[in-house]
Symmetry: C2
């Protein structure tokens, strides 16, 4: 069954960590909503390869309307977590045990939402110590699936494994 | 007495968080060494306002040759802490109780070096939860001085207070 996936995003996201999962999730019939600061915002990737127009602003959305969350990496998550609205939005998915897919720096939003305690996860090398301090058991693997709910990966190279495990849970 | 200050730096640093303290530290007679991945590297600020040539590469320096450490913010510290050589370098200053000045995202390097436990500090809003998890007592103030050794600030607006307290300890 088609799932509604929310994608919080801002500038300097890691291009392929949005474009590749987005392409495959859409091909599998799922619906993605890119959520920026405002609707219709032009959001640019760090590598200059991808430009995305936001489908909604953070004030326009209700997390209850979504089944799953995708958090691409790059410098996007760190900027989003400086905005309490995004932290509250993300916390909903973890609290409600909805599907959460976070890659690279994506777990930074999960740390600030204080939702990683007791979870098994991975992330980009630079944030692995942060994740451990936040109470996660960090595994340095291409993909870690925790409780049939949380899928995390480390970096662009891990995208195939990240997408494969995410699609399994979206079925 | 003139002090030797090491400045680990890479691209996307927050321009004024390097240029302003550097100017004032030099005017007070101190000597700064910008340390990049390699010597003579061109390092660009996030805002496009500042370009800095590194004075040394991380493999060329010995932390024993420096009295103090300045860590400007932006996206520079998160990239540096993905490189174990910079983490080891920074850890030396904290372990040896040398002067450490870190602003904005600068404390991310102190987290990864696991040196914030029991310290009083501040940092950019987005990393304050990370710092708390790392064992710091975080105060949301323009400048926090801990043990006459560690000076931290939150953001560019705090630079005057950051420089003022740092210069006091450099005397």
């Amino acid at each position: 069954m088609a799932k509604k996936i929310a994608v919080p995003l801002t500038n300097y996201f890691e291009d392929v960590e949005y474009t590749d999962p987005a392409k495959e999730f859409k091909e599998a019939g799922h619906e993605l909503t890119v959520i920026g600061m405002e609707k219709g915002e032009t959001i640019k990737g760090k590598q200059g390869d991808a430009t995305v127009n936001s489908d909604a602003g953070i004030d326009d959305v209700n997390p209850n309307d979504f089944d799953a969350l995708l958090i691409p990496g790059g410098f996007s998550p760190d900027q989003l977590r400086a905005d309490d609205r995004f932290v509250t939005f993300v916390k909903h998915f973890m609290d409600e045990k909805k599907l959460v897919f976070a890659i690279c720096h994506g777990p930074q939003l999960l740390i600030t939402a204080k939702t990683l305690e007791g979870r098994k996860a991975t992330g980009f090398k630079s944030i692995q110590v942060d994740m451990e301090y936040a109470g996660a058991t960090v595994e340095d693997k291409e993909v870690v699936v925790c409780g049939d709910q949380l899928v995390t990966s480390r970096q662009p190279d891990d995208i195939p494994a990240f997408v494969r495990e995410s699609l399994k849970l979206l079925q």
